[in-house]
């Protein structure tokens, strides 16, 4: 990734302080301590959405309006991506990619053997599960890893998206839905409950990549996970995309929406080297950086003017093509969330608790009180869609 920077600006020296793993949680711990101690780095990677807003609210990041104008960046990336990193009218980071959350990966051999089409609606998913569990007693239908708590929220997101549609989905996480009278949320919980018998019972002890491994080892027929799972299939299970496993975005009804979050870089207000940092951000915006980085790290290009055929697999080529042609079909997902950062783990707790002890009434009540406690309507007002 830094090779592109070195090529463009050979004078800039990069001091890396990587904190890998854990969905970036460890990195956040270190970053939080450093900022609290006044030891600001020049730049750091963050997600868009609520996490970015948290940094902006803390006054940690410099607005980048001039840079965006200079690069004319808003015109080469999807509108919803620009919205996801623009807070109170100012862009604060330069996104380099987009990860898509709602992808259903499936074992192609099993689907061929049972002549099942990959499901794109909840009804089709249930029917496929029925067929798979009847034919293959050694296999669960939907492999799930909920140990990090968000794996199950991913599945629930897809159900919500189908039942409520994109406007409802955005409105729900902006705290605009009156849950006491709302039927969509209730129905979605009931449908989620219908899925429980088709999910591996040990989901709470598995992480997302272990759930991918479960599909790879033949223990499960499908798993719902983000674009980053492609690497876990190819490296962890030696599975070839389009040969051993297929992928569809789920759901595709009422329309094909992609839930996404970006990785992005910004500049801190007390950056020791502001000039070099601006040069770095210019590089982040270039195809020269985005192509090699996104191809190896998963995710899609932030720029829609890059040829989708730069990606190695048809799965990713197709996703990139769809995004480039339909940039308005993107909505923020669980990671770069619409929900405020403080509310998010509490929301995941509710969904995780529901999955192990399904009780629709108490889940609805808990969600309603969460929206209230964390002032979601006010805190998420910054997000506009499309």
């Amino acid at each position: 990734m830094f090779k592109a920077l070195q090529a463009a600006y050979p004078d800039i020296e990069v001091a890396e302080n990587p904190n890998p793993g854990g969905g970036g949680v460890n990195q956040r711990v270190v970053l939080q301590s450093r900022i609290a101690a006044g030891d600001y780095p020049d730049t750091f990677q963050t997600l868009g959405g609520a996490e970015l807003k948290n940094y902006v609210d803390s006054g940690v990041l410099e607005p980048l309006d001039d840079l965006w104008t200079e690069l004319d960046y808003a015109s080469v990336i999807p509108g919803p991506l620009a919205n996801a990193v623009t807070i109170d009218g100012h862009p604060y980071v330069v996104p380099l990619n987009m990860h898509i959350q709602n992808i259903l990966y499936y074992n192609m051999a099993v689907f061929d053997e049972l002549s099942i089409e990959p499901p794109t609606t909840f009804a089709e998913l249930l029917a496929a599960c029925e067929a798979i569990t009847t034919a293959r007693t050694d296999m669960v239908c939907l492999g799930l890893g909920s140990k990090e708590k968000w794996g199950d929220a991913f599945v629930f997101d897809s159900i919500l998206l189908e039942n409520g549609g994109p406007e409802y989905y955005v409105n729900l996480f902006k705290g605009g839905v009156d849950l006491s009278t709302d039927e969509v949320y209730r129905t979605s919980l009931e449908q989620f409950q219908q899925l429980v018998p088709y999910i591996n019972t040990d989901h709470s002890s598995l992480t997302w990549d272990q759930a991918v491994g479960l599909v790879g080892s033949g223990g499960a027929a499908m798993t719902l996970m983000g674009t980053w799972a492609i690497g876990a299939f190819t490296k962890g299970s030696n599975w070839e995309p389009g040969v051993d496993f297929g992928a569809v975005t789920f759901p595709q009804s009422p329309e094909r929406i992609l839930l996404f979050h970006p990785d992005a870089y910004g500049m801190t207000v007390q950056a020791p080297h502001p000039e070099a940092t601006m040069d770095w951000l210019r590089v982040v915006a270039t195809p020269e950086l985005q192509i090699p980085t996104d191809v190896t790290q998963g995710g899609l290009f932030a720029r829609t003017d890059i040829d989708p055929m730069e990606f190695p697999y048809p799965i990713r080529q197709e996703l990139q093509t769809y995004v480039s042609e339909n940039p308005d079909k993107l909505i923020l997902d669980q990671h770069g969330s619409i929900l405020p950062a403080a509310a998010q783990p509490a929301y995941w707790d509710i969904i995780s608790a529901f999955l192990v002890e399904p009780d629709v009434d108490s889940a609805v009540e808990a969600t309603a009180s969460l929206m209230d406690t964390f002032g979601v309507a006010e805190e998420s007002a910054w997000y506009s869609w499309p």
Binding site: V25, L31, V60, K149, S204, P345, S352, V356
Partner: protein
């Protein structure tokens, strides 16, 4: 004389053997006196360095421990809720918030479970095991067994937690696979069953701390007084069990005090095992205060609320451990 005597090495003439002798006596006496004076001086100097050697780490300790402690208490009353600090005082606002979170009640119940089930069985089993090891007629076997049960202490909780999550995995874990291979389908879901998950986690804690507890208990057996008492009891014909209950247990308070206090504190602040094996799940069924503190501070960025949980853990330790210590000491000195 003094000068003379004090300068024996500067070539004074020795007139006769007698004088020499007398001189020698005086000489040593004076030297003794001198030595005593310089020793006193040295002692004084020594005690100053002693005090310094004692004071520097003490100050370090006080500032580091109590400074951060009071800082945490202070932060818990401020309004620090994002990345950057905000020291505006807001009273009990974040305590109120914490108490109204559904996790909080689960945490308290779970921490109490840990407290009781993590400490009592560990101590009881440790006493019996230690006594058994003391009694065994094969000292070589004893040494092996002791190493064997002490081994888990040498491992970090991260390792233990990872190993035990492999053991517990319901479908492909060690325990259920072993049981299946001998034809038993146990149906145990271990840490994935919300109703019982916490108990399986506590079992890991007991396993890890047992060896350590046995060593402390065993060493408290080995005082001369206690050995004499045991001998007397044996001579009087007391059974081994009777000796354990009537002679040994009442006389190892010092060891038990240390052991119980350490275990109480360890269970109160338990984090690693829960974080590694279940991450608080399924749902929030195995959540504990320390894990909640981590999530609140670093995932939710509610730093003041996180500090509040820290204060609550500290208060629980204070309320539970201090009275126990006072009680145990009183009994001891009776």
């Amino acid at each position: 004389m003094h000068v003379h005597a004090s300068l024996p090495d500067f070539g004074c003439k020795k007139s006769s053997a007698e004088v020499d002798k007398a001189m020698a006596v005086i000489d040593t006496k004076t030297q003794e006196k001198k030595l005593a004076v310089s020793a006193q001086r040295q002692e004084r100097r020594q005690s100053i360095t002693d005090i310094l050697i004692f004071l520097v780490p003490l100050l370090f300790f006080v500032i580091l421990l109590y400074g951060t402690l009071f800082w945490t208490v202070y932060v818990s009353f401020t309004n620090w809720r994002t990345i950057a600090p905000n020291y505006e005082l807001t009273g009990f606002r974040w305590y109120n918030f914490l108490i109204n979170q559904p996790r909080f009640e689960v945490d308290i119940v779970n921490n109490l479970k840990w407290l009781i089930l993590g400490v009592v069985p560990t101590v009881v089993i440790a006493i019996f095991l230690a006594y058994f090891l003391e009694l065994t007629p094969f000292p070589k076997v004893e040494a092996y067994i002791r190493t064997l049960i002490l081994y888990p202490v040498a491992m970090s909780f991260i390792v233990t937690g990872t190993v035990w999550s492999w053991m517990y995995e319901p479908q492909r874990g060690v325990i259920n696979t072993a049981l299946r291979s001998i034809g038993i389908d146990s149906g145990f879901r271990f840490a994935t069953n919300p109703g019982t998950a916490t108990y399986w986690l506590i079992l890991i804690f007991i396993w890890q701390y047992l060896g350590f507890s046995v060593i402390i208990t065993q060493s408290s057996f080995r005082t001369t007084e206690l050995q004499e008492l045991i001998e007397a009891a044996t001579m009087d014909g007391a059974s081994r069990l009777r000796t354990l209950f009537s002679v040994i247990i009442p006389n190892i308070r010092a060891g038990l005090l240390v052991l119980v206090s350490l275990l109480l504190i360890s269970t109160l602040k338990v984090f690693d095992i829960v974080f590694i094996v279940t991450n608080g799940g399924p749902g929030i069924s195995t959540d504990v205060l320390a894990l909640n503190m981590w999530v609140t501070t670093f995932q939710q960025h509610l730093v003041s609320a996180g500090a509040g949980i820290g204060v609550i853990i500290f208060l629980m330790a204070f309320i539970l451990v201090i009275p126990y210590t006072i009680y145990a000491f009183r009994k001891w000195f009776e």
